[in-house]
Amino acid sequence: MSALKIKKGSSSHSAYDLRSHFSDVIERHTLAVIVENEPGVLARVIGLFSGRGYNIESLTVAEIDHTGHRSRITVVTSGTPQVIVQIKAQLGRIIPVHEVHDLTVEGPSVERELALLKVRGKGDARVEALRLADIFRASVVDSTLESFVFEITGTPEKIDAFAELMRPLGLQEVARTGVAALARGGDSIV
């Protein structure tokens, strides 16, 4: 069965597969939503997820084109295939949404997240924390005699793993940015 192409607005190639399969398997999808950077647009997107009971695992937003007033929202969500298709279609209905891309189905993509972790400790624990940070390519962005702030980038799973290792070594606080994602290869979606 062929996929039905839906063109939203004058922009190109947002394609949703309307001939979706109904199954109970919960899938995790990363969506890139290109929006008009106008007041309230984030509230519209978040309100859609809360109002219709969809999951948000991660959400990041920032303006990516100052002259064109475009922002890019990266949402990581989960649901059955039917729900994922619904989410995309519902996002597409929001007027200031220009494009919705499902990076999970449109081809391989890279996902990265940045995190800051504050670890407090002395003696061996402190040395061990530094050693592990080195293995994870985390860098020290602040230090005192009994604390470090590490900066780490990577997949959410890598950050989870690093945080887990830091926990017994005196992990105090974590700040994460949420996922940013781009499709691999030379083609761009905006």
Partner: protein, 583 residues
Amino acid sequence: MTKTMTGAKIVVQALIDQGVEVVFGYPGGAVLPIYDEIFQQNKIQHVLVRHEQGAVHAAEGYARSTGKPGVALVTSGPGATNAVTGLTDALMDSIPIIVLTGQVPTFMIGSDAFQEADTVGITRPCTKHNWLVKETDKLAGTLHEAFHIATAGRPGPVLIDIPKDVQFATGQYTEKSKRTSHYNPQMKGDIDTITELARAMETAKRPVFYTGGGVINSGPAASQLLRELVEATGFPITSTLMGLGCYPASGDKWLGMLGMHGTYEANMTMHDCDLMINIGARFDDRITGRVDAFSPKSKKAHIDIDASSINKVIRVDMPILGDVAHVLEDLLKVWKANGRKTNTEGLAKWWKQIDEWRAIDCLGYEQTGTIIRPQHAISRLEALTKGYDRYITTEVGQHQMWAAQYMGFEDPNRWMTSGGLGTMGYGTPASIGVQMAHRDALVINVAGEASWLMNMQEMGTAMQYRLPVKQFILNNERLGMVRQWQELLHGERYSSSWSEALPDFVKLAEAFGAKGIKVDDAADLDDAIQEMIDYDGPVILDCLVEKHENCFPMIPSGKGHNEMLLRNAKTQGAITATGAVMV
């Protein structure tokens, strides 16, 4: 070309340029500059309603009966919050309306100023889109865009919140020019899928057209094409509550409305069909009943302009995203070009089966004695008003379903009812909106006594603007639909479903300066209806009917289409525990 003028004038100028003739509204501090501009012109008529909810429903009635967008104007704070029900109603039923709200001046926003409310925040989930305009220069462009958004694609309500200082300040007026909007929904459907559907129509043994409000929203051409398609193929056709009139009720392919209170033949046809062609309907839960028992043997096509409606509830095999008229035109072309084939043998059998279902006469009733049966009252209303240039609005409840069952609609835009939201209090203001657009037509609100009381203040509006709207109240002294559910699934414990301490509707009519008529004997019914029709002004007809009548057929919640309750059904225990949690 640009001109400089005040924000308030820009608002009025934009409305004029958009062809607006009527605005339904209610003034207050935050919209006084706009009211001042309205006062100083005579292109737009302002209708002063009696409650802002009434303004929005009136705008809906205007829109639904004309195909043009309706406009309402209300003040900040309470004016805006009173508009919320109407906005939600319009969103659920895809009615294009533009609501303008006043707002406290920009420099006071966020200070909990007098009559400040976060209007765009409150109305974000109940509008198709909304704007807070903080610069006078952006006002004209936003207004023009608002009309485009409200009417393009799947129509819906939009709201523009305008702070008072923006109304006073001067800015550039830009004309309604070639739009630069990026919102241009796809109108043409995918031709491959349309071809696939045309092929399926050639071989189907048990096809059915399942149509909805989308046909009406698509415009008169869509209804015309649908009629052509039905006549050419000979397929049976049913419609949702919102779609009544898209195909004439007098047509011999017409099965009546489907769904929870739909006809036996329509629901059985849906259940047993092998090809379901959904045109502009959305598989609402009032239609499907139990989803996993919904039309189990059919291949399903779905034509809809809104991608999110497709596969939301029911999985379909042939999704066609596009405007109904555009898609039907292509579908007819392809099907004709392929030789106008249908499975005549299969169809003949199918119609034989359908005729057997029809013979059940699911809407039959007996009118004996003096007590008026509500079904009889509606049937007589139908018979006596049929010949008129007639528009019907309704409230919500049993009377609404009886109106849908016992009245016949020959054309689109003649039937205004609150479907998706089920808003009691819709009908009276809607009738006013309709009558404003069709001054010489016979406009009747088929009401229940309880619903009618919810926006009865609008009788004042009808009087002021000499709108001869007829309020036909089926008075069962009950919240009838609630009572019916309590009978069916709450052990006949009629908790708060009486209409006690009802007003004397005749005196009430007279208090407004309207005509009041009361009828409680079946023998007098026709005369009373005729008197209502003939009176040149607003009328309240208080029609006392049987108090304990149930509305049948009924698909109890949680059941499938083939498990309908018919009249004389044993109603106790008809709804199972799983069904009872559903609404």
